[in-house]
Amino acid sequence: MELVSRHQASLLRLARTHVSSGALAEEVAQDTWLAVLCGLDGFAERSTFRTWLLQILVNRARSTGVREHRSVAIGDAGPAVDASRFDASGAWMSPPQHWVEDSDDRLAAQTLAVPIRTALDQLPPRQREVVLLRDVDGLSGQEVCEVLEISEANQRVLLHRGRSRLRQAIETELAGT
């Protein structure tokens, strides 16, 4: 049971990226555990248990076909920071406001959790997958490439777009108060 508890939240988050409802995500996660239970002998130490588990989940979630994942573009082409905030030479015209120290307090009080979660939900699916696996679940870049079967370059692009949007969401949230 401990094994399940430890990984379940990661599975549900990742599954939710592919399917349209929480109930479906739970089904995919449960399916994944069943596949693990039936195939545990097939686990040949070629990767960590977690990477293997997440790979099974991704394959199941994709083949569930609720959302055809492969047709989703690698990521939007939007810039990390809106172009209107730079002058013609590319220098900051509307520079980032200081909020790093402030965010510590807000994080301690958990008031940033909601806007971050909301921003995560609004990311394009492939960006969300990568940000969840890297920054929430703490996988390495290499592990993420393995789980999602993407190149290192793609992994970095998706991570960059996703993180940039989350930063913007925090800035917007803190500016509004």
């Binding site: 739970e26 520079p95 929430v136 991570l159 993180r163 940039s164």
Partner: protein, 88 residues
């Protein structure tokens, strides 16, 4: 061509941040990146914010299973264990 310019603009820095944090910038570009940061307070702030964002996202980890799910998976494991016992 932006790539041929000696100095990086702030607008380019914000696009290279992740490659920098991932340690995937070629050495010469890494030097230009760091030279820019040393002279630019705004981009230094931006880098700090990206790191704060990563840390903040990492703190979303605490998500508990609902009691129903614990029970459901408990059933699956009990079934599995009894099947294992039978097959050995």
């Amino acid at each position: 061509m932006l790539g041929l310019r000696k100095e990086l603009a702030c607008q380019e820095i914000v696009e290279l941040i992740t490659d920098y944090l991932e340690d995937s910038l070629p050495r010469s570009q890494r030097r230009r990146f760091e030279a820019h940061l040393a002279a630019c307070e705004n981009c230094t702030e931006y880098l700090n914010q990206m790191q704060a964002t990563i840390a903040a996202t990492g703190r979303l980890r605490e998500e508990d299973l609902t009691p129903e799910m614990r029970e459901e998976f408990g059933d699956i494991f009990r079934r599995w264990h009894s099947e294992q016992d039978r097959s050995t």
